[in-house]
Amino acid sequence: MSLSHNKNMNTKEILNELRDLKMKMPDLIIKDIKPGLFKHVYIITNEAVSSGDKVNDFILKHFSGLSIVGSNPLKNFKRDVERNIPSINFKNVDTRESLLEFLFSGFTIVIYKNEVIAYETRADLDRGVTEPTGEPVIRGPKDSFTENYNKNIGLIRKRIKSEHLCLEEVTIGTQSKSKVGIMYMENICEDAIVDKLKTMLEKINIDGVMDVNNFKSFINKENHTLFPTLLYTEKPDDTCRFLLDGRIAVTMENSPSVLIAPTFFVDFFHSSEDYYHKPFFSSFLRLIRFVAYFLAIITPALFIAIITYDQEILPVSLLINFTVQRSQVPFPAIVEAFVLMFTFELLYEGDARTPSIRGTSLSILGALILGDAAVQAGIISPIMVIVIAVSAISSLVFIYYDIQGSIRFWRYVLMILSALFGIVGFMCGFILLIINLCSIKTFGKPYLLPLAPFLIKDQSNALVRRDLTKINKRPTYLARKNLIKEVNVK
């Protein structure tokens, strides 16, 4: 590291400026150490972003210990500093702007005569590795990504100790200049997908990105759909599983989640936990999720279609039962359904934004309003409460939050179509849903893979999961380059 002498910097002026700044910035510390007669070493730091321990232990200790009568301690300032202060990051500052930038990003500035040196004394301001809050699990690792870029990459590298795990960095945001890392297994992942993603990311021209979720608007935007085409996870074990399948993980500084691409419809029904249970149980859970997905979308619509147009479908005892329940309700079925659905959406959003301490009062209120009082008041019928509750509960089983958008959209579309055209409208709406699902392409591949087109070899880990020893191949639609996992292969 070369510390060139810089005559452009007027340190006296800068010091005066900093002294003025201190008036409005009490966390700025300017310390004047006098190691000798008429010799001033100024140590400047911002205590909010720098670690006091590091400043004390390495910098202050060194300069304070210098003897006034010592043998020319400051004769060669730079060499002396290099020799005596241990620090990896150690910068020579030559402009006023860079001095301020270093100061505010946690460096400590040492000024002696005209020489300015910045030492890294950054404080650890990130939260530690905590349990995942968005994707809670019962079995399996319980660490999650944080806002710290290096920590996130560390959490992944810790799990895949391979020289093939590549990391490519790009900077996005004309103002925020956020560091974005693209990680993939170079021996598994298809190069075309990596190139495509890289060009997509490089094309982004925006002043700032705050989170990887911002990339939603820039990747795969040719699809007109509300189905999620990108998966976001905060679990490192999930990320590593995807990386080993031949997918790409995109991390970003200050973002606690990681973007996975390409992802397909079935991926949103899988959970890292599936792989920690026995195959039968995890297959059962997956099927439950699939059923729940369609229940969440179709139940209210189907019910409305049946009770307002096609009552003939119902057995007579059930019909009488429904009629008795609805006899006190003054609204048409669709209005009743919307009132109840709206109340549920309010509760759902309210619950998400309420601190958990206040959550109980919300649930009591919700249970009372939805369950009992509204029925007693004759605004809604008990059977409608059941129907909406089935739909609402079904929509809550999903691990990945992004899927909620598609459920909401199609649920309401189908409800309106059912209310207008009965079962015929419902069927038309459902066909539209299927058409939409089939027409999505994610990175040039059909979204419904491996279900449609049906790939028999990939069924061992799609709707159901076979035993891990039987899934000895990576998905054929992702990892043509390196298909065999070498489980059970001698």
Partner: protein, 383 residues
Amino acid sequence: MKKLILVLCMVLMCTGCWNYKELTELGIVSAMAISKKDNKYVIDMQLVNIVEAGDKGVPESPISVMSGEGDTIADAIRSINMKISKVFFSSNMEYMIIDKSVTDESLEEVMDFLARDTKLSLNFLIVTSTNDDPKDVLAALSQFNLNPASNVSELVKRSEGRYGASTSITFKEFLAKYLANGVTPVVPNIKLVGEVSDADDSETLKESDSNNYVEVDNLVAFDEEGNVIILETDESFGYNFLNNHIQNGSVTSQCGDNYFTIQTLKSKIGYGDLKGNKLKIEGEVQGEVFFYGCEGNLNNEKNLDKLAKLTKETITNYIKKTVNLAKETKTDFIGAGNYLYKNEYGYFDFDKKDWNKEGLPNIDFDIDIEVTLLKQGNLKGDI
């Protein structure tokens, strides 16, 4: 996109909510009766009262019966429309009573009307009530089911397989037999037991030994003039054996002064070859001893054979009686003509001649049935 919006707008405007009906607007018809009085059609409808159990200030009866009159069936129904505020919903109708007054030429009009109405399903049961006014039957309440119509239809369906003296027939089957050559439909007869005036009183439901209820009687057929042919118990058994309606029925025969009952496990009887004027009725009935009041050890194979022989005689007798009734009344409800029409086409000219009058009386039947007893019956565990 503009085109899509246009199409959507057109669809919305052109179709609208044309078939929209709320549940609460429906008058659910659970049963119906068609009869004729003074040359006018009379329709009686049993409607389900939509009241929540335990509500105060509402009628206690679970059903209401409304009647209407008119020159045609459509007029009669319209006249009921004037009396109630609901939209008729008859898709889930359980049964229809065809009164003896409409079994003559009017039956064709009735069938035409029922087949024409698209809102009716094809699966409701057809019954008749020869003794009672159909309106009284519709008005009768039931202890076993809040919806008396369900009770009647269940009753008819259950009695077919178990008891064997009745049979159920849906509208679809009825219509098929009505239109087919050489066969006449047979319908179950239901009757009211007890005082007619009490049967529709919900007070009777409060008694545990109520004497008022609806009962399934034997079968009934109609001849070409609309006269009622009542099949007695034996003849009803014969009809059901001949049509394989009995699967788990019981057959009681006499052994000396005592009786024994066989429960049938499997029964398959049908028409066989035609030789000259003789049509064979053949088949097999398998069963086990259900009740044994005779002398002799059942472990002895000969005794079992004897029982089988006696049962065979009983069943043959049932069928013989049924066949004779058909020949006497010149009404082929046993379906022999239909069998010949399908299998021995050259035997009779169905297009030009009347089978019931010219064919049926001249044909003889040769009944040959095998009865096998599979078991001596069951005993409980370790007695």
